[in-house]
């Protein structure tokens, strides 16, 4: 059983992630974000579960739906939110935006191209091995990304070279509108691990305790020289693929059913209770995280947008020095 301190911490992490993406939704409503926005609401247990076993020296390479992975890796949330809100003080001075955060300090990055994250993680894994560092590279992808050629090629190389790489597949059973069952040749992604001589693990991604445990096992395996691991965490996406998605592919009832039954924060309440954390405390945690994010958003929205005069800066190294 999870002890109270751990349960509290896990719940707080999930609460912080939820509050973060809710702040993003608010930022969108306030027109501080003018492009596509993909939030992770409903998938908090995965981000929160992975956070515990990520060390500063590890790397995470994420996707278009990257906020929780960035927070899990320790990216500064002010800088991340400012980037998402297109501010000069953002992680990437407002150049990258929500889909393209880069944080060399925490070895965190992402890409908006599905499947393209895994080869990049492979590069970190090779660097770690080459330099004799006990770090692990985590490549995140959705279920959709598991069908891409890049996923295969990176796992072929990681498997053959036994590299310290964990591929985390957030299987929310949808790639925009396309259902995993309709396009996957296998029932799970993790069962394909054998094709790469990798370890395949499957976990309920709405259960933060299970994720924390499974992800820790994967990281240990990779860190201790066991080679690559595919961790598949099943989960549910609460909102549209992006904000504004008409979701013609699922009914309102279906979406509501998902929210009612698979909310990782709500589901965790009975674990909290079992660990002796009461409803009131849980509510307080939620409220605290929410108000912290509200304050942070207010702060961020006061920050200046990038000066158009600098639009051409940072392509090449001279411009970055300038």
């Amino acid at each position: 059983m999870t002890d109270a301190a751990t349960a509290r911490a896990r719940f707080r992490r999930m609460a912080a992630m939820r509050a973060f993406d809710e702040a993003c939704l608010e930022a969108l409503r306030r027109k501080a974000i003018h492009g596509e926005l993909h939030v992770g609401l409903g998938q908090e247990a995965i981000g929160a579960g992975m956070a515990e076993s990520l060390r500063p020296e590890d790397a995470v390479v994420s996707t278009h739906r990257n906020h929780f992975h960035g927070l899990a890796k320790g990216v500064d949330r002010r800088a991340l939110l400012a980037e998402i809100c297109e501010r000069e003080a953002g992680l990437c001075r407002g150049r990258g935006g929500h889909m393209h955060p880069f944080d060399p300090a925490t070895n965190f990055s992402a890409t908006g191209i599905v499947g393209a994250s895994i080869p990049v993680a492979l590069g970190y894994a090779h660097a770690f091995r080459l330099r004799g560092e006990a770090a692990v590279a985590v490549g995140v992808t959705g279920d959709g990304g598991s069908h891409t050629g890049g996923f295969h090629e990176a796992l072929v190389m990681a498997g053959a070279a036994n590299l310290p790489m964990v591929v985390l597949v957030e299987n929310n059973a949808l790639a925009i509108s396309v259902q995993f069952d309709d396009v996957s040749p296998t029932e799970t992604v993790s069962e394909r691990a054998a094709a790469y001589s990798a370890l395949g693990l499957h976990v309920d991604g709405t259960d933060v305790d299970a994720v924390a445990e499974t992800f820790a096992r994967a990281m240990d395996h990779a860190r201790s020289g066991g080679g690559p691991v595919i961790v598949e965490a099943t989960c549910h996406r609460f909102r549209g693929h992006f904000e504004g998605d008409p979701e013609g592919y699922r009914s309102k009832e279906e979406r509501q059913r998902v929210r009612d039954n698979f909310d990782p924060l709500r589901l965790y309440r009975h674990r909290l209770a079992a660990a002796g954390v009461g409803e009131a405390e849980a509510d307080a945690i939620l409220a605290e995280e929410k108000s912290a994010m509200k304050a942070l958003l207010a702060e961020v929205l006061e920050m200046p947008l990038p000066d158009p005069a600098g639009a051409m800066l940072y392509r090449f190294v001279e411009e970055a020095r300038a």
Partner: protein, 342 residues
């Protein structure tokens, strides 16, 4: 309201994607070798709605929802064409071409030639380009990239009428055609277009490779395509108020490139501005400028200028995006400068 007026009104209320879906449906009806492959094109009807209703109507074997596997389904298109079918392959955003360019340029575009004309490749790569936010990896046009690689036609229409006619032409062509929609236009309805919002009901085709003069003028020739035509028209209107008469030409396709129409105009006005939402260098703007110069001679023009995305990844922040993506203001500014010149 008369029946005709009502019809016209319906057309004006119709989102551009519905017109595109209509064009595809008409062709699929005519020709049962046509089929469509792509992500989210079936059950969802396309992320912009350009294939709405097609799967219901033609079934999931002719309107295939694919996994995210562009190299796989682009190559599948090549095989389908070789097997006597006429596939339309949707690459959701043109930015994603980097994972499957191989099948487009080394297979589809080269096979007709490599086979000595014995293997035809009737294929449409349908995709969306252009900037509506979402930054560097989701905002590119890239028609210059396809145009550099021989063997495919490259089309980028600007209004509902042309989308319908050029899509039909692309689907009937025996050559591979890259059909690039612009996301900003896909968000519009017929009535939001300044030019040619009217669309006939039945199927019709437009020739691939003929530019259209969409506004006549005498002081400057402005050649462009896709969403920039709308911006150019807005800028031209503004300049008209300042006494500068701008002729606006919609190229409609990059390959074939109708430099003759542009040269005829620029020969009269003496001034050419090429506006391009794709990257400035090594692309459309230099090629067209030089082809016009070839036709008119170095002394046949007083000014040749170009305004395009200045070789920079598209920034996330709106303040920066506006500074680099040529919109009506940037175009008007440039026209003003040119009018002041020799």
């Amino acid at each position: 309201m008369s029946a005709v007026a009502e019809r016209a009104n319906d057309r004006l209320a119709m989102p551009l994607p519905a017109t595109i879906a209509e064009a595809i449906a008409l062709e699929m009806e005519r020709d049962d070798t046509i089929l469509c492959l792509g992500e989210d094109i079936g059950r969802a009807g396309g992320v912009f709605g350009t294939t709405t209703g097609l799967q219901e109507r033609f079934g999931s074997a002719r309107v295939v929802d694919t996994p995210i596997a562009e190299m796989g389904f682009a190559g599948m298109g090549v095989g389908l064409a070789q097997a006597g079918m006429r596939p339309l392959v949707e690459i959701m955003f043109v930015d994603f071409i980097g994972v499957c360019l191989e099948q487009v340029y080394n297979a589809a575009a080269k096979i007709p030639y490599m086979s000595g004309g014995r293997q035809r490749m009737p294929m449409v790569f349908k995709t969306a380009g252009g900037c509506i936010g979402s930054a560097a990896q989701h905002s590119q046009c890239l028609w210059g990239l396809f145009a550099h690689l021989p063997g495919m036609k490259v089309v980028a229409p600007c209004n509902p009428h042309d989308h319908k006619g050029l899509m039909a032409a692309a689907l009937r062509s025996d050559d591979p055609v890259v059909f690039i929609e612009h996301k900003a236009l896909l968000l519009r309805k017929g009535r939001d277009f300044r030019h040619h919002p009217d669309v006939p009901d039945g199927a019709y085709t437009l020739p691939l490779g003929e530019a259209a003069v969409v506004r006549e003028g005498s002081d400057v020739t402005l050649a462009t395509l896709s969403a920039s035509v709308e911006h150019a028209l807005a800028a031209a209107e503004e300049l008209a108020g300042e006494g500068v008469s701008v002729e606006v030409i919609d190229l409609r396709s990059v390959v074939p490139l109708d430099a003759d129409t542009v040269a005829a105009s620029a020969g009269r006005t003496g001034r050419l501005l090429v506006v391009d939402e794709d990257y400035l260098s090594f692309g459309l703007s230099a090629e067209l400028s030089l082809r016009v110069i070839d036709r008119l001679g170095l002394s046949g023009l007083r000014q040749v200028e170009r305004l395009a995305l200045p070789d920079v990844p598209i920034p996330a922040a709106l303040s920066l995006e506006k500074a680099v993506v040529p919109g009506p203001e940037l175009i008007a500014d440039r026209l003003r400068q040119m009018a002041k010149g020799v």
